[in-house]
């Protein structure tokens, strides 16, 4: 079957600890082996413990959720704080906005990012614009929407989508995507505490696959700060979320071919850290962006346009984008659709040899 033959996402914990990455340390210093699910669960636990006016709600979250991210929370904090909603995404987000408008910390879960579209109106027209149109009288900054996104190998049209680009077009909200367990916990804690509504996309492929040492205590990874995961000199490679693992593999292979890649995890898509990416491109002269979402109108387009605008004279080659194809997310054709390691490697070489 095509899936088994073509799709090979073997993830070693090494991807999370790249060559130049600072190891995450916190004051307490204690770390525990966690996968992405446990890391998110840990973050939610910390929020529910420290903030008595925080709530976690969504479809099926009470028993633990379909991916188990909310396991045990209802038992620990009570069903009045961790509760199920009916099947109504627009209702869930609208309700979350109202709850946040009253000064609460509302953490809404949308079961799959593919189902977020009924809530699109509430996010774009209500959440993003509330503070602005009320002249700062009101806001729903306490709202965080968590949702699993991205390919999973067999998800097909409605369990694999990466809709982040739609939300990056909306001033007033933030879009955050972690690449692994320790980033997820720190970024989620920052997102929940950020006084702006945040849409937090969790790479579902990594829920169980990614395992690493994650600090057990409360810590934050700042938003709108890109992380240079691996330093290099020949080309800047930018990505986020699950794609980072693929990019890491491609960069390792490129190194064997004598190409030194600087790998950057954007982490926050809007507002994104232009300075870090710019500084890197000014050093390397080349840029490659990769994401699972279809290429046309994907967030890579914004990065490409911005960088060309600001770093034109530093560029040695056209900005390259290796992304999903311009088709609906396919079922049997998933391996063809995905921006795989080989496609990226070829693009890196093409850019360097331009």
């Amino acid at each position: 079957m095509p899936f088994a033959k073509h799709l090979c996402r073997t993830l070693k914990s090494a991807f999370c600890v790249g060559h130049g990455q600072r190891a995450l340390t916190t004051q307490a210093g204690k770390a525990k082996r966690m996968n992405l699910v446990s890391a998110i669960n840990s973050a939610l636990q910390i929020v529910l413990e420290s903030d008595p006016r925080s709530y976690v709600f969504g479809e099926d979250v009470s028993f633990g959720g379909v991916f188990r991210c909310t396991t045990g929370l209802a038992d620990m904090f009570g069903k009045h704080r961790v509760f199920n909603t009916p099947l109504c995404e627009q209702g869930i987000v609208g309700f979350g906005i109202g709850l946040a408008a009253m000064g609460n910390t509302a953490i809404a879960e949308i079961q799959f990012a593919d189902y977020i579209y009924p809530a699109f109106d509430q996010i774009v027209n209500e959440a993003a614009k509330f503070r602005y149109r009320s002249g700062n009288q009101f806001n729903c900054g306490g709202l965080t929407i968590r949702t699993p996104y991205g390919a999973v190998g067999h998800g097909g049209h409605y369990h694999s989508q990466s809709p982040e680009a739609f939300f990056c077009h909306v001033p007033g909200i933030k879009v955050v995507i972690p690449r692994g367990p320790s980033q997820a916990k720190g970024l989620l804690l920052s997102s929940v505490r950020d006084p702006n509504p945040v849409v937090f996309f969790e790479p579902k492929w990594l829920y169980r696959q990614a395992v690493e040492d994650v600090p057990e205590d409360d810590y934050a990874i700042p938003l709108s700060r890109a992380e240079v995961v691996q330093r290099g000199t020949d080309i800047t490679v930018v990505g986020w979320g699950a794609q980072m693992a693929i990019l890491d593999q491609a960069c390792s292979e490129a190194l064997q071919a004598g190409i030194s890649c600087e790998l950057i995890d954007l982490q926050t898509l809007i507002p994104w850290d232009k300075e870090t990416v710019e500084a890197s491109v000014k050093k390397t002269g080349r840029l490659l962006i990769s994401h699972e979402a279809p290429i046309t109108g994907g967030f890579g387009a914004e990065i490409a346009a911005s960088i060309v605008e600001r770093c034109f004279l530093h560029l040695e080659a056209p900005v390259s984008r290796v992304c999903g194809l311009d088709t609906p997310f396919p079922l049997v054709f998933e391996p063809h659709y995905m921006p795989t390691k080989n496609k990226i490697l070829e693009a890196i070489k093409a850019s360097v040899h331009f």
Partner: protein, 402 residues
């Protein structure tokens, strides 16, 4: 069903047409006359669980007239669905097919009751638990297995998968993954049928969980406002994935949720109840009385999908109990034996034949060719100009998208 359409047409022609959007007035005797003419056999089945009615002075008849041939056909059809779902379950559990699969076993009476009540020209649209409805609308296990295994011979040419089965020539509009989406779509289908003055209805199917989606109410209002011939069929299997209906709904009753729509609740495990209720609903719509809701009280034996064991939110005892007391296939089997429509041996022969047919369909599907790579880019736009997309080799590849 061709005969009934002819009867309806004759009756229609005798009535004046008020305006292009009006319904056709019907004499209340026409229903009884037609039903009397249609019953080919002398077997009368009592519908055991009474219908619940909302906004209706009278409901479907409490007994159903059937015959030996129809009984055996129903038995075979339901058994085919059951066997096909068991095969699909094995395919997924043995990892020969991946993706999502939502099995229909336990709910066969709804699909086959629907099949008995409607015609090929009636439009049907359902959600992702569509294998049974697909067969009811004239699909074959071969097409289903082809689609599951991603073959070109699949009903969506291998591009849709389990949730997206379609059959255009039989007016089966699929197979939809997003919950709640079938209601407004069904309203649109119904308007088209009414506008073209067709003697047909649209049946939009959704589940108990989906009835809490906003767009379902938008559709109910539009359909009622414009008197659309829309039957909203709610397959209430009491669980929206893992959430029991009483946890999701303030009022776990779906046929009477809306004050301005009539509704019927039927025993969804009794194929005759479903059939009579749907016949009644179809008459209602074609008489120009507008949409109607029918809630079928049914049950699924498997979990929500292949990722759900189905036992974390309900007990094995509950599933076993319903299988023993209310299994739709056993129910029909008992009637067949009681009425002498067939012997145990004859039924055993039918069982074997159905099993063999389903197995043959699966083997045949496995040998069918897979779609070519180019199929990734086809069927996105209807366009006669070339649209540039990136091919697998990352070079610009021109592809004709149509």
């Amino acid at each position: 069903m061709g005969r009934s359409a002819a009867v309806l047409l004759r009756l229609w022609k005798r009535q004046p047409v008020h305006d292009s959007f009006s319904g056709r007035a019907f004499s209340s005797n026409a229903f009884a006359e037609r039903r009397a003419k249609e019953s080919k056999g002398c077997i009368t089945v009592q519908i055991q669980v009474p219908f619940s009615l909302h906004n209706l002075a009278e409901g479907p008849p409490v007994e159903s007239r059937t015959g030996k041939k129809e009984l055996l056909a129903m038995y075979m059809d339901m058994l085919t669905i059951r066997r096909m779902e068991i095969s699909a379950d094995m395919l997924f559990k043995s990892q020969q097919v991946r993706g999502f699969c939502h099995l229909y076993d336990g709910q066969e009476a709804v699909a086959i009751g629907l099949k008995e009540a409607i015609s090929k020209e009636d439009a049907v649209i359902t959600a992702y638990r569509d294998h049974g409805i697909f067969l009811a609308k004239g699909g074959t296990p071969f097409e289903v297995f082809s689609e599951l295994t991603g073959r070109v011979t699949g009903c969506a040419a291998g591009k849709g998968g389990s949730m997206h089965l379609y059959k255009r020539e039989n007016n089966f509009f699929g197979g939809w993954g997003i919950v709640g989406t079938t209601s407004p779509l069904g309203a649109g289908l119904a308007l088209a049928l009414k506008y073209c003055k067709k003697n047909n209805v649209a049946v939009a199917i959704h589940g108990d969980g989906a009835d809490n989606q906003g767009q379902v109410y938008e559709a109910k209002n539009m359909a009622a406002l414009w008197d659309l011939p829309l039957i909203l069929l709610i397959e209430n299997n009491h669980f929206g994935m893992g959430t029991a209906e009483w946890r999701a709904s303030k009022k776990a009753s779906y046929f009477d949720r809306v004050s301005y729509l009539p509704g019927i609740k039927a025993d969804g495990m009794d194929v005759f109840a479903v059939k009579e209720a749907l016949l009644f609903c179809k008459e209602h719509c074609l008489a120009g009385k507008g949409p109607i809701v029918i809630e079928c009280d049914t049950y699924r034996y498997h979990g929500h999908s292949m990722s759900d064991p189905g036992s974390t939110y309900r007990t094995w005892d509950e599933i076993k109990q319903i299988r023993q007391a209310r299994d739709p296939i056993q129910f029909v089997k008992q009637i067949i034996l009681k009425e002498g429509a067939a012997t145990e041996e004859e039924l055993a022969t039918i069982d074997k034949q159905v099993k063999k047919d389903v197995e043959d369909a699966l083997s045949k599907a496995r040998e069918a060719p897979e779609p070519k790579e180019e199929a990734l880019f086809t069927d996105m736009y209807k366009h006669d100009k070339k649209f540039v997309v990136y091919g697998c080799d990352r070079k610009q590849a021109t592809s004709r998208l149509a």
